[in-house]
Symmetry: C2
Subunit: 253 residues, 2 copies
DNA sequence: TCAAAAGTGTTCTAACTACACCCATGG
DNA sequence: CCATGGGTGTAGTTAGAACACTTTTGA
């Protein structure tokens, strides 16, 4: 029976032919000083930077893994996460450089070790409130920093591609779901929200049309307070109406 | 040096803690008799149906793997594919049922065999021209059939979830990219294109507005031919302007 | 008192919706 | 000859874009 033979071959040899390893890479966006920032790690004894990432435990989903990994890097428990792509080019990692990362730290690793194989990486983007993040490096990196989006270059492997796709996904999300609750402090002004949108989209927006549009979504609550101690006319503060905001997240705008 | 110890532990034990297996599941959509259809496999000695799927070889990307797998299932070389999600619930497969699938075919498999572990599945949807498909089952299945979308139930594992998400992704795509070239024969009428859109969206559209909108995209070429031998007024035939169509795929509508 | 940013309203345009009449064809 | 579906045009509505003046405040 040919199918039985094929099944047997699959059970016995499939592991060698098919086993792929999986990892997670996350693009963490923050907003500060009117700039969109990305959390990066300075890789061990290397000129390269990398995205926060890690591996999936056997008992968790990829979302849980991303959440766990980002809690370790940022200190934030409940992080806004969105899966946006899979990166699986067999040449995405360079086994020579991979191995160097270990040997430079005095860790011997054989050529056949699992950690040097091709990893298929699941890409997530995360939105966090800049001021709440306490960056912490991992075992592969010396330091963990916020970097301005435009300065995020010299990234390892295909992390520049991943970052680019994350930005595309964020822009797409902006067009049919609200963004902001996860990136801004609790109270914010309309101009601040507008800067955020402009920064993500990469082009200026009309002040009046922007305000009208935002208000029409009914996800904002205008507070009876103004931003104090600021030059020129004091702008009103707003906060998000959480119930309507999360409804808009589900149903779209 | 703590990071060295951690790195060593990672290299030696990470394989046990972290190694996840990866698979591919594809939702193949076809259109026939004014009905949206999905290609399903009747699983070996089981009441369940499954999506066409498979595993990723070490030297290929997930897209190449999906392409290869679907060529085997459909006979089509160049298939339109889109990756839309990752399915990784540790409970998505039932090891008992998985094992039964092998033992029922007379293939012994130990409990620890790789094929019984949790697989993280990458979801793709594919659009194919119904008449060009020659369905062919795989080693896990007895038969391969087209099934109407609404009759696609009794699916194994989380394949109903995957199918639902694929449909969401297809609907989303419909809203900002053209769909149709991959699902319709070379020549088609405007009402046929409209049925396709209505079937995917699940609601009727206005004939006149639909036609105007489609024509405004400039991706159609009106032919000097009409559909022959049909009841009532013979509708005009169209074909896609391939150059503009693929441009619209890239840039959106 | 002036420069710079906030707050607000109107007009124009383009896209979408709703809707009706005539035409061609097979039964 | 009539029922059915195809082909086309128009008016009304709505969302978005463009744009200018007044108000507030710190320097």
């Amino acid at each position: 029976m040919p199918s039985e033979v094929a099944l047997k071959h699959f059970v016995l040899n499939g592991g060698k032919e098919f086993l792929s390893h999986i990892s997670i890479d996350s693009v963490v966006f923050g907003f500060h000083d009117n700039q969109l920032k990305v959390l990066l790690l300075k890789m061990n004894s290397s000129e390269f930077w990398g995205l926060p990432g890690g591996f999936v435990r056997k008992e968790e989903t990829v979302e849980q893994a991303a959440m766990r990994i980002l809690k370790e890097r940022t200190g934030i428990e409940e992080i806004f996460l969105h899966q946006f792509g899979v990166f699986s080019d067999p040449a995405r990692s360079n086994p020579f450089l991979q191995r160097k990362m270990f040997t430079d730290k005095g860790v011997e690793i054989d050529e056949g070790n699992w950690a040097l194989q091709r990893f298929i990486s699941i890409g997530f983007f995360a939105l966090v409130e800049f001021s709440q993040v306490i960056p912490k490096s991992d075992i592969f990196s010396d330091e963990c920093f916020w970097v301005n989006l435009e300065d995020a270059n010299n990234l390892m492997m295909d992390h520049e591609t991943i970052l680019g796709k994350a930005l595309d996904a964020l822009r797409l999300q902006l067009s049919y779901q609200p963004v902001g609750y996860n990136l801004l402090p609790e109270k914010f002004t309309m101009p601040e929200l507008q800067r955020l949108y402009e920064t993500i989209l990469g082009h200026p927006l009309d002040r009046r049309n922007f305000q009208r549009k935002m208000l029409s979504y009914n996800i904002l609550i205008k507070l009876n307070e103004r931003r104090e101690g600021v030059a020129h006319k004091a702008p009103s503060l707003f906060k998000f109406d959480l119930e309507r905001y999360s409804q808009a997240l589900k149903e779209g705008l």
